[in-house]
Amino acid sequence: MENIVFQGCVGLSLAMYLWLISAGLTIIFGVLRIVNFAHGSLFMVGAYLAYTFYGQIALPFWLAILLSVAGTGVLGLIMERGFLKRIYGVDEAYQLLLTFGFILILDDAVKMIWGGVFKIPPMPEFLDGAWMIVGRPFPIYNVFVIAVGVLVAIVLWFVFEKTWWGRIVRATAADREMASAIGVRVPRVFSGVFVAGAMLAGLGGAIGTPVRVAAPGIGTAMIIQAFIITVIGGLGNLKGAFVSSLIVGVLSAYGTLFFPVFELFFIFIIMVVVLLVRPQGLFAR
């Protein structure tokens, strides 16, 4: 029993990384109708920036995280304003090509800037160590990750449901022509949403750096899971992304515990079942 509770907590922390990356992916799809394959690469850039700000320049941990998130946001702005906005009107295949191109470019760019060797900064001291949960040491760092994930969920919910800005975004997502007709500056909304999504990916990457690593290719590792999650939750659905992150994170942790040999299939089985029963995703309207 203790082991089940403990593994569940571990799964919860896994889920939060998944949530941070799939939240941005699903918001961007929901509003811009862009399937951003390079979203994982933004996650990777967030990780590298955190390594530079925290591991190399030795800024305080919080500041380093904030700067990494801001930096990823700037990169997102460049991507959206400079490139993506040119292909909103054209065939979806172009989105695929463009965002896939970004994966290759960013993977090589980080290799040129940071080199091929993985980077891992020291652990921030106040997050080092463990708390006892059901008699077993649970890393404080994972508690921190869970807290950040939940906080982001609350903030996103508040922004989307309770603010004027959130209403504009929802209106644009529902019908961009109508929104434009009533005076919403759609291109600005698009930029804002894309930057926000990029920042979420950057945050996911940045808070992982001290325990995970920054390395070329980690973006591609994340993007597949993120896509599975958004498909399960319903493309463009934020609540769906949160719930399916939890499902996938916790179940894959249990998979490792109970079915170590088949663990990898677990997440795909969930996706297949959801696609068969509810092809539009668990929470799609």
């Binding site: 993977d107 993985f118 040999v261 990898l264």
Partner: protein, 421 residues
């Protein structure tokens, strides 16, 4: 006068050209413009330092060989390609290097999965590859000893190093009875664990293997794997993820308090330079409490020979980094190739393979002896515990346990080891 001068200069230029081309050809006794060596390794992703180290080792070896007059007067030319740690890419590269570029030899390959895919292709391409990292025993036991693919030669150590040495070290530890693995989820991880279990069980019928968790390449979070095996309360962990993944795994194990609860952690390739650099801070603070053990396919602080010291000096001067094992094994593979070609007096695959018979060669990593049955070079590499040494800026392996490779390597005829997880 002008005409005369022009005529003279043309004559001079022609002469120079003749001299130059003549020199290049006259010197090379093998009748080729250069000996071309195709080199491969994983140069992208979290394991990319290994490909980079293979590239550094091969570049330095070629530079040194050429500076000393080449091989039988022939210049060595190398071309490095990234195999992306993928079997399909490795095979494609091998074909491209041989058929398009005209490689006479191939060198490198990090992953066992990639090596097993390239192996059969070599017979078809009729080119020898000197393998310098991939460790699955099947490469030499199955493909060479059983199937007779003579184009496979391994200069680096097989999984005997990862698995058998661990069993030999810990067989006398009566306090360590319950073993669990956190394994790399592919060939290398499975065969290491199975060979370890098989060997240890012979010495210690009382040990139990209580848990396993498998992590594929590009695993970012080992937390569920660590907590899953720790749920079985093991005394010791046998871990085979390597490179950046080994560093992640060890650091994530630290924050789960694993080193308060186990007696031993065996990190198979933990003696590699990138891993030692990655855990330097933790080693300095003694956070592994002396329970972390590791080996490698060569370690920069062993053997204590003039050859190794000189190699380290040249390497650090050339690249501003310490060589990891894939750099040493690749560097040494070039000198194995040089010796074999010189003895054969030919680039012919069969003749070069014959020339390897009975070869004993002194490399930075020690004396390597060729074993003809499985075309495996045999040399000693110790295991030890990562610790700081004032002579080096990064951790070294200390408390070294040295075993004779002659004794602990598996011998032909080979009995099969399970390759399932």
């Amino acid at each position: 006068m002008n005409k005369k001068l022009t005529g003279l200069s043309i004559a001079i230029v022609l002469n120079l050209l003749l001299l130059w081309t003549g020199a290049a050809h006259a010197q090379c006794k093998l009748g080729v413009p250069a000996i071309k060596v195709g080199v491969q390794g994983a140069a992208s992703g979290p394991h990319s330092d290994y490909g980079r180290q293979i590239e550094m080792g091969s570049t330095m070896a070629a530079e040194e060989i050429n500076a000393a007059g080449g091989i039988l007067g022939c210049k060595v030319e190398i071309r490095f390609m990234d195999d992306e740690n993928r079997a399909a890419t490795g095979v494609r590269n091998a074909r491209l290097l041989v058929t398009d570029w005209g490689a006479h030899f191939l060198v490198g390959t990090d992953s066992s999965g990639v090596a097993m895919a390239i192996g059969p292709v070599l017979a078809e391409l009729k080119r020898i590859q000197f393998f310098t990292h991939a460790a699955t025993h099947r490469l030499t036991e199955e493909l060479v000893a059983q199937k007779g693919i003579r184009e496979i030669v391994r200069v680096s150590v097989p999984v005997y190093q990862d698995a058998i040495i661990a069993a030999l070290i810990f067989k006398d530890r009566k306090d360590v009875r319950r073993w669990a693995t956190i394994g790399a989820d592919y060939e290398y991880g499975y065969v290491s664990w199975n060979l370890f279990k098989e060997t240890l069980k012979k010495y210690r019928p009382d040990v139990e293997f209580v848990g396993e968790a498998w992590a594929p390449f590009l695993t970012l979070d080992f937390a569920p794997h660590i907590s899953a095996v720790m749920a079985q309360k093991p005394d010791a962990i046998f871990a085979t993820p390597w490179a950046g993944e080994a560093v992640q795994l060890l650091r994530q194990a630290l924050i789960q308090g694993v080193f308060d609860n186990v007696q031993v952690w065996w990190q198979a390739m933990g003696g590699s330079v990138d891993v030692l650099e990655g855990i330097a801070g933790e080693v300095q603070k003694d956070r592994f409490k002396g329970k972390l053990w590791a080996t490698a396919r060569y370690i920069h602080n062993w053997p204590d020979t003039p050859e190794n010291k000189a190699f380290i000096e040249r390497f650090t001067k050339r690249w501003k980094r310490y060589p990891n094992y894939s750099a040493e094994t690749t560097y040494s593979a070039f000198f194995v190739m040089k010796a074999a070609v010189e003895k054969a007096g030919s680039l012919d695959t069969a003749k070069v393979v014959d020339a390897l018979k009975g070869m004993q060669i002194r490399n930075p990593g020690g004396v390597r002896t060729f074993r003809a049955e499985d075309q495996q070079f045999i040399y000693n590499v110790p295991a030890g515990r990562p610790m700081m040494d004032p002579k080096y800026p990064i951790p070294v392996l200390g408390d070294l346990k040295i075993f004779q490779a002659q004794d602990y390597y598996r011998h032909p005829p080979f009995t099969p080891v399970s390759i399932a997880k």
